[in-house]
């Protein structure tokens, strides 16, 4: 029952704020919004305490959801250590961001709607992570997509926001179509979608089918987690309120793809080809997105590309069998990227919405604490010890290296390393341009209120120490739990751990130095032709426009204007017209002259007479 409560509490908040929020006083809306998530966090924590042994799992089956023929799927929940971790991250970070939002959204007229959506998101995300079978997960998966749509387009009167929301939904749908087919394939071949029966079912599947299934499922992940080739929606998603970017488009929802692979690891672990695809896509995305972040001027979009890039790391981890590392990085990334976004939000709050880094600068003074928070987040992102990102990223790179040793491609490791360098450069650039470069704007910016500062402080703390505590101190509690959960044979004994760590730290430091050198004085660093190329996102959007969007629109227009009206309907009307013309012709035959009629009678007579005379019995 506790499991149900975890999911239902935020949904109750959604219902209350959604239905009656407009009539409630704002403080009450805030209390309902934050309180339900907090309660859910507490419930998750209490439930998680029951999971003493790695194989422990709490389940709750509510009712039979869909039953038709031999296929049955129930509305059931499942909490094991993986989902418990996710639930805690979702509710924990979620709670902080809810609190942050009280301050951030204080002036918005649609305050209650905002909190309703946010609560709906938390509830849906919890459904996603706690779903007891793939279909319930899919429900959550789609519902968070909906929330993403709603919150990106929260200020729907802005055309750009509405467009961005729609784009997010549609691009995600493309991935989801694959996901759905994967589910169908799985359901058809194994007859079950229950997570607790998946391991057995996976063993019985033919390798080809398994590869197909996992590839299709991964297609869903590329949509939701903004990987190549479906990443395009996430940068635009920055049209939404910044806390939303922090919660949904950095900390939680976009990691759903990673979670899904972790959740279905019994399947993916048996599908080597899929894993190599996952790793390759992850590495490629990581590098690709990082390079774009290098030239992006919009602070939030820098962070968005950074998120895409970091998600790429996580998929790389999944692909090279470093699933514990991947989930660990997921958790750490949730902390520091949320922090970065909240800091960016604080900047926007202070500057009344300016995000163009060309117009920012010199904020380190007035926004001291924000700058500090951003710096911590940036260092964590750059992978500088002892910040959180260091531990997780380093672990991934180690595994990538190890995979190369075991017959994998060394390119994965190199890409990861290169990305680490680029990451350090762009985040340094962002920090410098925003906080240290000569000021572009003088409007007495002021520090955010406590409701915003508090959550940032907590996240800063986590970004600072979370990695060390989770992976190192006191027997690395978090990482150990994950290691046991995935029960993957450790391949680390051959790893030259220390040298690798040294290299990756060096790369990070080198990147920061590069960033400082490049951007400390000058604002405009174009990077020449390469810069232009990157600024156009490697022409990916242009390619999509030219190859998919425009032709599709043309096709639609052609189908509607030519095929439909002139072709199909034209044929229908044409037939009707012909019959009508025949009617006109027959009127003309009816001349009105008796002698013509008599002639017709005679003609008929001759015909009938000849019939009777010629066709004798």
């Amino acid at each position: 029952m506790a499991l149900v409560l975890i999911v239902v509490l935020p949904l109750a908040g959604w219902l209350v704020n959604g239905m009656a929020g407009g009539r409630l006083p704002r403080p009450l809306v805030s209390v309902i919004g934050c309180g339900t998530v907090a309660a859910s966090f507490v419930a998750s924590a209490m439930a998680a305490r029951h999971l003493a042994v790695p194989s422990d799992a709490l389940t709750a089956t509510l009712f039979t959801w869909i039953a038709a023929g031999d296929f049955t799927v129930s509305a059931g929940l499942l909490m094991d250590r993986l989902s418990a971790l996710m639930a805690l991250v979702v509710t924990g970070v979620g709670f902080l961001i809810h609190v942050y939002s009280i301050g951030y959204m204080a002036d918005d007229s649609a305050y209650s709607r905002y909190f309703a959506y946010l609560n709906l998101f938390v509830g849906s995300m919890l459904l996603l992570v706690l779903g007891g079978n793939l279909l319930v997960l899919f429900v959550g998966w789609e519902l968070v997509g909906l929330c993403s749509y709603l919150l990106i387009g929260f200020w729907f009167d802005r055309e750009r926001a509405a467009n961005a929301g729609r784009k997010a939904f549609v691009v995600n749908r493309i991935g989801d179509a694959g996901f759905l087919l994967g589910i169908l394939l799985l359901a058809t071949t194994t007859g079950t979608l229950q997570f607790d029966r998946l391991a057995d079912a996976a063993g019985a599947m033919a390798p080809g089918l398994l590869t197909a299934t996992t590839l299709l499922l991964f297609m869903g992940a590329t949509g939701k987690s903004a990987q190549l080739p479906l990443y395009v929606w996430l940068p635009d998603a920055m049209e939404g309120p910044t806390p939303v970017s922090a919660l949904i488009h950095a900390a939680t929802m976009v990691t759903a793809g990673v979670y899904m692979i972790a959740r279905l690891h019994p399947l993916f672990l048996r599908a080597d080809f899929t894993l190599s695809v996952v790793a390759a896509v992850g590495a490629a995305t990581a590098f690709f997105a990082a390079t774009i972040a290098l030239v992006e001027w919009d602070l939030k979009r820098v962070l968005a590309y950074s998120t895409i890039s970091q998600l790429g790391y996580m998929f790389l981890a999944m692909g090279v069998l470093a699933m514990p590392a991947g989930v660990f990085h997921l958790t750490m990334h949730a902390f520091f990227k949320a922090l970065l976004f909240l800091a960016a939000g604080s900047v926007m709050h202070a500057t009344h919405g300016v995000v163009d880094m060309r117009r920012l600068g010199g904020l380190a003074g007035p926004l001291r604490w924000t700058a500090l928070g951003f710096a911590i987040g940036a260092l964590a992102l750059a992978g500088i010890p002892p910040f959180a990102g260091f531990f997780s990223k380093d672990l991934i790179l180690e595994h990538a290296y190890a995979a190369a040793q075991h017959g994998g491609s060394v390119a994965l490791w190199l890409a990861g390393l290169l990305t680490a360098y680029v990451t350090a450069v762009y985040i340094t650039r962002a920090a410098v341009l925003t906080f240290f470069a000569p000021a572009g704007q003088r409007d007495h910016p002021h520090e955010a209120p406590a409701s915003m500062g508090g959550p940032m402080a907590i996240l800063a703390l986590l970004s600072f120490g979370g990695g060390w505590v989770g992976a190192h101190a006191a027997g690395a509690p978090l990482l150990r739990v994950l290691d046991r959960f995935f029960a993957i044979e450790p391949a680390a004994e051959t790893l030259p751990g220390a040298p690798l760590t040294a290299i990756s730290v060096a790369v990070g430091v080198f990147g920061i130095i590069t960033g400082l050198l490049l951007y400390r004085r000058r604002r405009e660093v174009t990077l020449g032709a390469l810069g232009a190329f990157l600024a156009r996102q490697w022409y990916v959007e242009a390619l999509y426009d030219a190859a998919v969007v425009t032709p599709a629109k043309r096709l639609a227009r052609f189908a509607a204007d030519v095929v439909e009206t002139r072709g199909i309907d034209g044929a229908v009307n044409g037939i009707a017209g012909l019959v009508g013309q025949a009617g006109v012709a027959m009127r003309r035959v009816q001349t009105g002259y008796v002698r013509n009629y008599a002639a017709a009678i005679l003609a008929g007579t001759i015909l009938i007479l000849s019939y009777w005379l010629l066709r004798g019995p």
Partner: protein, 501 residues
């Protein structure tokens, strides 16, 4: 008690009361009409709850001779296949009437009469188990609908109405020939012959003939659905029909076609059905994709929703001809779902049209800001239509795809791309109407939903979530009948010998 007969003819009884009311008392006219349809709804709810889910055969059967000399009987009954459609009809009709109350103010008496007669014809269509009785009701639907479109419709109503009726009549004309042929094959002597659906279902018909008869029935149903490329009457009818007409047309009338697939086409001509299932499936898939693409390019909201019906019903058709239990169950459920969600979409368009008198997307924009109560309702209905999990649409769509996947993964894969398209055009529509800067010319007229209008949507939204979250009551009731149907059809996988009387 002949419950089903009372159910079928109760609207006509209400219509007789309506005839006696002074035509100027519009509220009384609507009131009686609404009361009549609500009474039907209550009665159908009784049937729904007393329906035995474990029984595949017809229940609440009533059977008497009607025209003995021609072998025609009055034979009605309800099973798991007709039950959902009966419920759909009885739920939609009061809503349709309610939607008109306030927007149709002239010639109210005739309008209410048409709607009531229409309901009787629709219920009769879904509950008949005698082919002639079925055909009578089937054709009887056309006349009231013709007038609803033709008299209370838009500027091109005359064209749309005549196109609607001629197109659908053209399809069903050959069905009549096929029905009679089937009857003539059911026995050597007039006395032995029958129009009884159940008995005809056991009648083996030799192959070339069976294929022809299949074709005749299929044509009638395919036009009604409408299956691509026989759909062009639909956008015109929808665009021109008044809101209530569009709602009934989309929600219920189109289901007559898909219902016909399940009720008549499959059991009567199983071998031909197996043989032609690929053809119909391919047409269905073309419809899914084509309908989606064309919807996207529509500047007219109603035309957009109408074309989306082509797409959605393609999916229903695909499910019907997948011939697996989940697919057929899903198909049946999706008929209900489409009724709810597309009915809802048309109600929304109607609410907007009442205020702006425009159906052009260009005349809208930013409505959400002006009508904050309508916006979330519209969103929920849109989401239901694009089959978001948690709403009714998903359950049906998933079952159809699952069942189709079991027999032909390629079909399922193609059909699931319709999932993408529906998001494209529906969200496009939602954005153009609801979002963006306020572009409506006369802001003052964009008052939010009235209490009456809210009551249009409350039942629909309740159903959207109810079926989305807990579809068992529906699925359980249809399971036995669907299973029997699928088994009956698939048992003919091998050819059987021809029938000699």
């Amino acid at each position: 008690m002949p419950v089903l007969s009372i159910l079928i003819f109760l609207p006509v009884a209400a219509a007789i009361v309506v005839v006696c009311i002074d035509r100027r008392k519009t509220d009384a006219l609507y009131g009686v009409g609404l009361a009549g349809t609500l009474a039907v709804l209550a009665l159908s709810a009784v049937v729904f709850f007393r329906f035995d889910p474990n029984q595949a055969a017809l229940q609440f059967v009533q059977r008497t001779a009607w025209i003995p000399s021609a072998g025609v009987s009055y034979y009605v009954g309800v099973d798991g296949i007709s039950l959902p459609l009966m419920m759909l009809t009885t739920v939609i009709m009061p809503l349709a009437l309610l939607s008109a109350w306030g927007s149709i103010a002239d010639r109210v008496k005739e309008f209410v009469l048409s709607m009531l007669v229409l309901e009787t014809a629709l219920l009769g269509t879904f509950l008949s188990a005698d082919l002639v009785l079925f055909y009578v009701f089937w054709e009887a639907v056309l006349i009231p609908m013709y007038f609803i479109i033709g008299l209370w419709g838009g500027p091109r109503r005359s064209y749309a109405a005549i196109k609607f009726i001629l197109y659908t009549m053209a399809g069903s004309a050959l069905m009549l020939v096929a029905i009679i042929t089937l009857y003539l094959h059911s026995g050597a002597q007039p006395g032995e012959r029958t129009f009884d659906l159940i008995r005809l279902g056991r009648l083996p018909v030799a192959m070339p003939l069976q294929a022809w008869l299949f074709g005749a029935f299929a044509l009638a149903f395919a036009i009604k659905v409408p299956v691509w490329p026989l759909h062009t009457w639909l956008p015109d009818a929808h665009v021109e029909a008044p809101t209530a007409g569009s709602v009934v047309l989309a929600a219920v009338l189109l289901k007559m076609g898909t219902y016909g697939f399940l009720r008549f086409l499959l059991p009567l001509f199983p071998q031909a059905a197996l043989q032609f299932a690929p053809l119909l499936s391919v047409l269905a898939i073309v419809g899914i994709l084509y309908g989606g693409i064309v919807s996207w390019a529509q500047p007219d909201v109603k035309r957009l929703v109408a074309m989306s019906s082509v797409s959605h019903l393609g999916l229903v058709t695909l499910g019907a001809f997948a011939l697996t239990v989940p697919a057929v169950q899903g198909s049946l459920l999706q008929m209900v779902n489409h009724g709810i969600s597309t009915g809802g979409l048309f109600l929304i368009v109607g609410v907007l049209y009442d205020r702006t008198h425009s159906r052009q997307l260009d005349d809208y924009g930013g409505v959400a800001a002006l009508m904050p109560r309508l916006a979330p309702i519209a969103l929920i209905v849109v989401l239901s239509s694009l089959a978001l999990p948690g709403t009714n649409g998903f359950v049906g769509e998933f079952l159809i795809l699952l069942g189709t996947f079991q027999t032909n993964p390629a079909y399922a894969a193609l059909a699931s791309s319709g999932v993408i398209l529906s998001a494209v055009y529906l969200l496009w529509m939602y954005q153009r109407v609801m979002q963006g800067p306020v572009a409506v010319k006369e802001r003052a007229r964009m008052t939010d939903l009235t209490r009456r209008e809210q009551w249009l949507f409350i039942p629909l939204i309740a159903l959207i979530f109810w079926i989305g979250v807990y579809p068992s009551p529906l699925l359980r009731r249809s399971e036995a009948s669907v299973r029997a149907l699928v088994e009956q059809v698939t048992s003919h996988q091998s050819p059987v010998t021809s029938y000699r009387p």
